[in-house]
Symmetry: C2
Subunit: 196 residues, 2 copies
């Protein structure tokens, strides 16, 4: 039987490198992970990692991007009516971080926040927030502010629910979490921010 949609070999190798790098960034701090060690752990030449990802920073960003799929967040927002954005984004984030790909990423994110918070910040500012602020209305500075406010609730939601596991937030169903946190994200993205 022929599987017509098998990913090309290059894409498979790239994914194998990302999986290996995720494991290593979850187990050791960024400074202690070398491209050479990642290459060894997945059985490829270190030059191939440089070819695909440029640098260790590039590899780290690709690990985050592969897990968080910010382009899905953007297209998801694009497909939804405006008044559903808050709920859609909470559902999307909760599904990713509680899924199989999210669990190792929680360790990666925790380690990065502890040792290199500026890397998480750069990734958010370069890759995630522009995709959100880009679909909003208004002057650029206001759109950036709205995206960063939504980001603050999203970071806290994931930390409190999936890392600190504070109850009863940690035990809510995704549907309940969407109902409770969604309106906050919605207000930050589209609400009247001068109203208090």
């Amino acid at each position: 039987m022929i599987a017509p949609n098998t990913p090309a070999k290059g894409e498979q190798t790239r994914q194998r490198i990302l999986d290996g790098a995720t494991r290593m960034f979850a187990d050791a701090s960024f400074d202690k992970v070398s491209l050479r060690a990642v290459a060894r752990s997945v059985g490829v030449d270190p030059a191939l990692i440089s070819h695909y990802f440029g640098s260790k920073e590039g590899l780290f960003d690709a690990v985050l991007e592969g897990a968080l799929q910010p382009e899905r967040a953007e297209s998801l927002v694009g497909e939804q009516p405006r008044e559903e954005w808050g709920r859609s984004l909470v559902r999307y984030a909760d599904t990713i971080w509680s899924g199989a790909a999210g669990r190792p990423m929680l360790a990666v994110a925790r380690r990065a926040l502890a040792g290199h918070p500026e890397m998480m910040s750069k990734f958010a500012s370069r890759v995630i927030l522009p995709r959100i602020s880009g679909v909003l209305d208004g002057p650029e500075e206001e759109r950036r502010l709205r995206a960063s406010l939504a980001g603050s609730q999203m970071v806290g939601f994931i930390m409190a629910r999936h890392v600190m596991r504070i109850e009863p937030l940690a035990s809510l169903t995704t549907d309940a979490a969407v109902d409770l946190i969604g309106p906050t994200i919605q207000r930050y993205l589209t609400g009247d921010l001068t109203q208090s």
Copy 2:
């Protein structure tokens, strides 16, 4: 000249131990800090640390409690009209975490979240959240839910603004942050959570 309100010597020693422990928990992971090393760094007998704090976990909790002063959050809420709780708590948190005591605590909290998120969770669940849920109205489970939701926005606000330093949130004045984040905390504490 006699200073009548000089703290008792025991209190001074206790504070000296807390300051030394804060520096050590900021510089090394919880597992690598020993009571013996803290004692050495401030020039006291290790038995004195056990006397004051019981265990390393007790010392760690006291470091967090000394910096975050949850009893101040509670009394502050008690003194304010109900509709000001959200804004008051944001102002209180932002003032603490951007002040002189907050900066070393950011490093302590980052390290703890990376290595021992359950310690931050236990501290929040035992020391901070009950002081908030205790002043709310309604059945206990709902009050606990409200406190944990407010906690999620507070954790995210501090992380995004003071640890990741995501712009433009990081550069806002405290007043502006209070106006933007306060209504979220207010809704979680006293708003209609079924309304979405």
